[in-house]
Symmetry: C2
Subunit: 396 residues, 2 copies
């Protein structure tokens, strides 16, 4: 009988893990209210941008992100084969532009840091930028081209993951997990082979599901699951982001407004504009610490529109198709937490913050390794990169 | 047997006429895809503002608007009694403010014109404005208070009208009218008593409805109804407007951001912010000639947010609940057309442009008079005010 895995969460991390685990021979159940439409993944921009996302002082995270990016092409190809769906994986690269002299200075500092980490990134003049993306404002002050930072269509990806999961026999339970319980007295060993009961979850309809392994991949919902007091999880807090979706008016033809992802510093504020195959644009950037509030704030929408149109004036003529928000799961050091918890048979894959899409293939591979090695094995993700990965106290 | 009237259109004009006609003893049928939710009425701000809406060179229209406003209090009271629903009729008045010196100069010119027309309007200093509306930006340059310009909750009003219609036995047919035909050879007289067949309409499901009178009140949809080539209608063109609905974040209490309607000139651009009883705000202003395009444009949303927050900085903290557009039916001289068409038994009430809410009670009263007097009677609305009201060629 196949080992049973219960995945809590239907975002990109939960679904990627579920698919890869099912491929690896596990009997997988995903518990999520609306798989593929839940949480932050649905409103993500889909940037796969380890170099553009470089932050000063986060070199180990950058290393992890680059490792994650390296898996993407194979992951996309494999997923498209398994699901029969295009995921919109796009290798046109990323251009980051500066709007004023001070933005230019900030980008030059970032470029020097990117080079110090061995990243491929090129300084571009204003006219070089406009040759790459003709719709950019003529007033820009040059930028950085990162040919290796790509993007994926997050919604196409999520749809393909659900499809691939179904193709592998993954069962979907459209409920919420209220609590998780470890399997009796065991503190280590391989659940499902030890003869002792495995972990279980209590569902929102009052029922209970047993399993051999449980994987908590519910993003910012993870810490709200009951029974985790002794799990040894780090703090996972929500960081809100606003996103706009813009598209050409019906019937308008012509080339897309952006042939590649454009990011910008606009008088010190960051913004990104990511094109989709259907000629819509995803515009985002905001990061707000406002608890679990999911409201779309007028000020944030104004800021995004204001900055977007100052970078690409043609934005004004697009239709505002959607204004949304998502809550990204952030840990204190912005590094994801992937590994066994202190509860027997219960693992976690959360805290991916701004990099859930980028790190999904690597996380899924790590979780497959983790479950293959059994409870008590070291957490895989980030270990090589020296990132701060928490393992269960019982493992120390 | 009661005279049958078929009203085409489920916006504020169609529903107001239907209700009043039903009260007057007619047997009324309303044909509209989604009565009370159709068209421009659903996205209106609900201002009842003849004085604030004064436009240079449109003195007869202003007279008509003031006549319309005078009927509102009784209309609201009567409708609330008939429907059992509050319509959010609010007599707190309107304040128009200027953001810069040039806006102030423009408002002073407007004020002089308002006074020349005999309107009640008071010049207010910046601190007087902020005493009336404390959430206004401290940088404003004073304004005009118009205590007699009120507002109504358009959606509550539409709901109450549907309710009142039902209470009077009005029948609703949720279809579109594709064509209208007059009743045979008659060119004048009183349809329904003459013994000749009355007019009829062809519906989107292929069926036909006969009636004694037909009232075309479909706003910008009116000219798209078939069979009207010989009706003698003036051009009715769509003028697009964007509207935003903003509201306090869930759980936020405290006084409403605006205790009355605020309008503003922001570096030459007009904007209005109208409060609702549920503490949401309706923000609008745009007027665009873009045919029947209903898309929400990024540039228009940006402009509204930009201007709104420059007038009331607290806007930034509100949630953007809705971004919508509507198409206002405009005639060449901005004056509504209410009266018999050249087709026997077919009347029209359309072209209300920016003043559909304000003119609904007057229009309904005029239509009741019109039908009582029979085909061939002069059109009532605006006639006293000297407005350009078209009557049927057969009447000349």
């Amino acid at each position: 009988m196949a080992t049973r895995v219960l995945v809590v969460g239907g975002g990109v991390i939960g679904l990627s893990c579920a698919w890869r685990l099912a491929e690896a021979g596990y009997e997988v159940t995903v518990v999520a209210p609306d798989p593929g439409r839940d949480g932050a993944s649905w409103v993500a921009a889909g940037m796969l941008a380890p170099v553009t996302e470089v932050q000063f002082g986060e070199a180990p995270l950058t290393e992890l992100l680059r490792e994650g990016a390296a898996l993407w092409k194979e992951f996309a190809t494999s997923l498209e084969g398994a699901s029969g769906h295009d995921v919109g994986y796009d290798e046109s690269g990323t251009l980051t532009v500066a709007l004023d002299a001070s933005d230019r200075a900030a980008l030059d500092q970032l470029l020097a840091y990117q080079h110090s980490l061995g990243c491929t990134a090129h300084r571009r003049t204003a006219s070089e930028c406009r040759a790459l993306v003709p719709s950019l404002t003529p007033t820009l002050r040059g930028g950085i081209e990162v040919p290796g930072d790509h993007h994926v269509d997050n919604r196409a990806l999520l749809g393909a993951l659900v499809q691939a999961c179904r193709g592998r026999g993954v069962r979907f339970v459209p409920l919420t997990v209220e609590a998780v319980a470890s399997g009796g007295s065991r503190r280590s060993g391989e659940p499902g082979r030890s003869g002792e009961p495995g972990p279980s979850v209590d569902l929102s309809d009052g029922s209970r599901l047993d399993s051999d392994h449980v994987l908590l991949a519910a993003g910012t919902g993870t810490p709200h699951i009951g029974g985790l007091d002794a799990a040894g999880l780090p703090e996972i807090r929500p960081v809100k982001g606003h996103i706009l979706r813009l598209g050409p008016a019906e019937g308008r033809s012509g080339p897309p407004l952006l042939p590649r992802t454009v990011r910008a510093l606009v008088h010190g504020r960051s913004i990104y504009l990511v094109p989709r195959p259907d000629r819509t644009l995803v515009v985002g950037a905001t990061m707000e610490e406002r608890g679990t509030d999911l409201g779309v704030q007028a000020g944030a929408v104004h800021e995004l529109l204001c900055d977007a149109r100052s970078v690409v004036p043609g934005i004004d003529e697009l239709e505002l198709l959607e204004s949304g928000t998502g809550l990204r799961p952030a840990t204190p050091d912005n590094t994801p937490v992937v590994g066994w918890t202190a509860l027997a048979g219960v693992a976690v894959a959360s805290g991916h913050f701004r990099n859930g899409m980028l790190l999904a293939p690597l996380t899924a591979a790590s979780v497959v390794d983790l479950f293959g090695a059994g409870f008590g094995a070291g957490a895989a993700l980030g270990a090589d990169a020296g990132a701060d990965v928490r393992t269960a106290p019982g493992d120390e």
